[in-house]
Amino acid sequence: MSALILAVPSKGRLMENAHAFFGRAGLSLVQGRGGRDYRGTIPEIADVEVAYLSAADIATSLAQGSIHIGITGEDLVRESIPDADKKVVLLEGLRFGYANVVVAVPQAWIDVRTMEDLDDVATAFHAKRGARMRVATKYVNMTRAFFAGHGIADYRIVESLGATEGAPAAGTAELIVDITTTGSTLAANGLKVIDDGIMLRSQANLVASINADWNAKARKAAQLLLDRIAAERRARTMREVRMRFKGADEEMLAEAKGRFGVQSPFGGPTSSGMLTLLCPPSTLHEFTIFLRERGAETVIVSAPEYVFAQDNPLFDKLMAKLR
């Protein structure tokens, strides 16, 4: 039996993006016996078993500790795990699966722009009709916490597990809390997002379980896995810059570090002024102009595939929570 169980979404865009994410980190997910097997392996790392689950099941399995690491949406973590920060660690946002959890009301409510307006309307609604305003959502826990934070008391939640945006038109709720990416589904249903009604800006996350069986083999496998992911992330946020010219000296390097945020992974320049640096993409062009002004004839910039280092920030983050 494998030591570390890594859960990956089993279908749709989330699955494709997850495969691409591991692919960039040089890890291939091999599904056993074709597309219908819900178990797989990562040939590059021993002792890892891949479990294909729905994103919602990944969140609950992480909370229970039946899997070690998984990819799932932050919205599902926040909604389905009470006291999430005690049970799981969000290791890293993965820059896909973006979606906002929002409060949306009918567009016809032209007098409602803010949560404060909604509070007032909810109280008046309750006082006048003797019934509470109904909020359709599947995000029951997040809605309660968010509404309580805004002092809203005169409402009740109607659980909705699908097509939530249709609830106001169908007359089963007055407003909704739902997930949206572009807002077009909301608009098509005559709804608008309240200005300060964005409850969560969610994306797919690499999430680790605190309660899983973190035996020595599992920790080793996690270390190797997270090392590759961290190396890819570091590479993605850096460009390799190479040069050789007289003006490349310690003084120039010190100035470059201060102005452009460059790092010198292999130390200072050689006696002939040969130097390899890492520079963030945002300051890269400015930096090359600076180098040429200082006398560099040629500056070669390339994108590294991986940057491995002594430290392993993702693994450290996990270990800090496991103690």
């Binding site: 009470p82 009301v105 009918p106 567009q107 016809a108 409510w109 032209i110 007098d111 722009r113 803010t114 404060e116 307006d117 509070d119 007032d120 309307v121 109280t123 008046a124 609604f125 006082a127 006048k128 003797g130 019934a131 509470r132 305003m133 826990n141 309660r144 509404f147 309580a148 002092g151 008391a153 005169d154 409402y155 009740r156 939640i157 106001p168 038109a169 007359g171 007055e174 407003l175 249903n189 005559g190």
Partner: protein, 377 residues
């Protein structure tokens, strides 16, 4: 359901019911499984997360009763009851994220008595008798009055939106303070749609409604969901008249802050409330008269009024209370939760569907807490 002593260590829970029955309260035993609707509607979401709730095969939402007040009142309405006194003893169920979730509760509900002050005093007196059954002779009594706060808010003649907001936020920790700060600073929503409000200033409701309907139709918004153009127009009108009261807001905030600092025994508090009312030129005589009368009845029931800690800011976290509220604690603080708690809830019966308003007051006693505080006999 079994009668006798379901949780009767030393039979003291049963002795409580006997005490209530001797005092003229008829024992009732509502079903443990209750339709969830009225709890959801009346208690709000904060309590809902503590409910054990599920759906039966016909799709009806049911719950394990989280308290007995609502079931007793519903039964009373169904039986077309007039005035009646009820008592109960049995388990209630609340998910507190740990523990068994099952708690033994006894209590009374006193429905339909018009002499409110005397009824309040009798209720408090019986609550204190309850702690005596467990050997607690001098418990700590905390008291408040939600009705007094609403009388003050309406005497301040604040705009309707502000009145609603303050009443809603009373006893919600932190929120009321924030309200007062924004009342002081007058965070005016008019800035966000000043043009509309200026156009509506002085309009009658009919014209305002036509205005809103036109805006919606010009913007191509079909009226979907929940609120009518009348309601939207009405809210705009409320806001457009808010400017007229702008000079009053900081004063009102000051009065409210002074009010919320008043605390002491009921007699001391009454004195402070009278001077606040005359200083701020507010007519609170009806509410204060009732307060004084109630204190009189409490003293007449043999309760040492000077031992009651009354605080204007004290409330209980349930929306349906409307007058006196109280909580009784272990004087030695070995138990932190209330032993007995209750109050007046005159609005509950109409909210539950009664056609006539029925005055109501009652309390619930927590058996486990009483036993811990009382110790072994």
């Amino acid at each position: 359901m079994t009668t006798g002593t379901p949780n009767g260590k030393n039979g003291r829970a049963a002795a409580l019911v006997e005490l209530y029955e001797r005092a003229g309260y008829a024992r009732v035993e509502p079903a443990i499984l209750q339709p969830a609707e009225s709890f959801l509607e009346l208690s709000g979401e904060e309590l809902r997360r503590r409910l054990y709730i599920f759906t039966d095969s016909e799709g009806r939402e049911l719950c394990l009763r989280p308290d007995l007040t609502i079931p007793v009142c519903r039964a009373h309405i169904e039986n077309n009851g007039n005035a009646a006194n009820y008592c109960y003893l049995g388990p209630v169920f609340r998910d507190r994220g740990g523990g068994s979730g099952e708690y033994m509760q006894a209590g009374i509900e006193q429905l339909g008595r018009q002499d409110r002050s005397a009824a309040d005093a009798e209720c408090l007196s019986l609550a204190l008798e309850s702690t005596k059954v467990f050997g607690i002779d001098a418990p700590a009594i905390r008291m408040g009055d939600v009705g007094l706060f609403s009388a003050l808010v309406s005497a301040l003649k604040l705009p309707p939106a502000w009145q609603r907001r303050l009443l809603k936020d009373f006893n919600r920790t932190g929120t009321l303070e924030a309200d007062l700060a924004s009342l002081r600073n007058k965070s005016d929503p008019r800035a966000s749609h000043a043009g509309v409000l200026a156009a509506l200033e002085g309009s009658d409701p009919k014209a305002a409604r036509a205005f809103v309907t036109d805006i919606l139709s010009i913007a191509g918004i079909s009226a979907v969901g929940g609120r009518t153009p009348e309601e939207i127009a009405e809210r705009f009108l409320e806001q457009s008249s808010r400017g007229a009261t702008s000079g009053l807001a900081p004063d009102a905030a000051g009065v409210l802050e002074k009010y919320l600092r008043i605390a002491g025994d009921p007699d001391e508090a009454l004195g402070a409330l009278r001077s606040l009312a005359s200083e701020a030129r507010l007519d609170l005589s009806a509410a204060l008269g009732e307060f004084e009368q109630r204190t009189g009845f409490i003293a007449a029931a043999g309760i040492d009024v000077s031992k009651i800690r009354f605080a204007t800011a004290f409330g209980r976290a349930l929306d349906y209370y409307s007058g006196m509220v109280f909580e009784i604690y272990d004087p030695f603080e070995r138990v932190n939760a209330p032993l007995v708690a209750g109050g007046r809830y005159d609005n509950l019966m109409t909210l539950l569907g009664s056609e006539a308003g029925i005055p109501a007051v009652g309390f619930a006693a927590w058996i486990a807490e009483l036993e811990s505080a009382g110790g072994a006999v």
